[in-house]
Symmetry: C2
Subunit: 303 residues, 2 copies
Amino acid sequence: MRVLITGACGFAGRYLVRELTAAGHKPYGFGLEPPPNPEFCPVIQGDILDAAAVAAAIRKIKPDAVVHLAALTTPAEGAMRAALMISVNIQGTANVLESIRREAPSARLLAVSSARVYGSRTPDVPIQEDDPLTPDSLYAVTKEAADRLTLQYARELKMSFMTARPHNHTGPGQAESLSVGSFASQFRRMAAGVSPAVLKVGNLDSARDFLDVRDVVRAYRLLLECGRPGQAYNIASGRQVSIRMLIDALCRLSGIHPTVEVDPDRYRPADFSAPLDTTRLTTDTGWTTGFTLEDTLREMLVG
Amino acid sequence: MRVLITGACGFAGRYLVRELTAAGHKPYGFGLEPPPNPEFCPVIQGDILDAAAVAAAIRKIKPDAVVHLAALTTPAEGAMRAALMISVNIQGTANVLESIRREAPSARLLAVSSARVYGSRTPDVPIQEDDPLTPDSLYAVTKEAADRLTLQYARELKMSFMTARPHNHTGPGQAESLSVGSFASQFRRMAAGVSPAVLKVGNLDSARDFLDVRDVVRAYRLLLECGRPGQAYNIASGRQVSIRMLIDALCRLSGIHPTVEVDPDRYRPADFSAPLDTTRLTTDTGWTTGFTLEDTLREMLVG
């Protein structure tokens, strides 16, 4: 399949390009940034907020499928740049939906949403895709709006559109502003002897569903190949890993046992990833997680 | 209060200008159209999609409160102009939220949403504002997104923002494309002898919560005066009036008894307005409906 990827040069995008190429597909990128290296797939540079540029890219590439990743994804910065986040995440998605409808109406679309559309609920029973959406941050509200618009295009305008709702994912190359990336980077600096053996942490009791980015992009590829239009798909490992467990694993793998200091600037009340039911994804595509927590952390310690 | 109204020249906007003036407030309009008559309040002409124009209007007027009415509200046309509806209803609202945050951060905002954010559910117990939102059309999805963005600005950024979720409303001057307006106009033409006594209808069993536009704008004014920031407010009469009852009332009031013909182009499966709990609105503002069905229809038969 010819696959156009918005946000192809971002963290998940770069892994998705590799995943699609390895599976025999032909990826193309669309986004603000130039290709990160000469071996990367072709990239059309343009702004997702420029509806004409999005339409022109689709007209040119004639994709069989589109994966829409482009978004501002860092909730903590949301309040500071609320207006841009709203525009990019909602109007940017609307530009993609409408461009496909006009320029390539039979193309499949996977619009990447977020598990945060369910808010910070932690019910006893894992959340299914058709349960109520209860976003509780500005970031989550923008992702929920984009998710609903995408599915409504499928239902009302008969487009082959799906959404994916992954938990946060991690892996080698993750930005240091995200907690796992930050811990791995601190351990690397200690191992190199450029930092004292002191680890700055937030709340050790917070826990996250721990997903490797490579498992996530494999889910995306499988959904392009055999997902059902009109459906949302949860993507989760089902493993809740506390920050404490994460640090223990990093100590074990690195052989470094730093002093752990709680940094008041990083401290938040303990929070947890919403438990997600992934039956729909596994039934429709056969997906399971392939990377263990240790696999992922071992590679992140290398850099 | 100095009150800036987006969409002031629309159907509800014109009634709101009158309501606010009568209550001693000072309304100003912002919108694409010029004032409908010389006695109308001052209007700044501009496009809600032009963020700089919205910000400039707020900077100029320095409002104590804003009522955001500007929206594309005709669901039937939604699929035809999906892209514009999404932009106006969501990005247009985002422009209002952000402009107030920057230019008049202490101003109160009432962003007018829609009862359609609850979808076409008709549960036995009336729906409360904090129940799940389940929009089931592209129009409803755009209104839900705007509603959630508004409330999230209140919660996350501490703005004095509220939303109103009214059912469809009607009254003298309503566009003929909406069913009550269309029936009243057909009766007026029959009374004038320019049409034969034949009434074209859709499904007679469909029923709507019947709200007079003047009751609705009174609710808006009361919410500006004493609504609580961060809250959504249902607005409904609690009366479900079937198309059959509506036509019976129009026959009785006009003395005309036309042949009723079901028009296949207008026929849809019977649908009903979601039953809404309005306890929050009545408790916080003392609002009740003032117009009976017959009051409204009698005036609509005059034109």
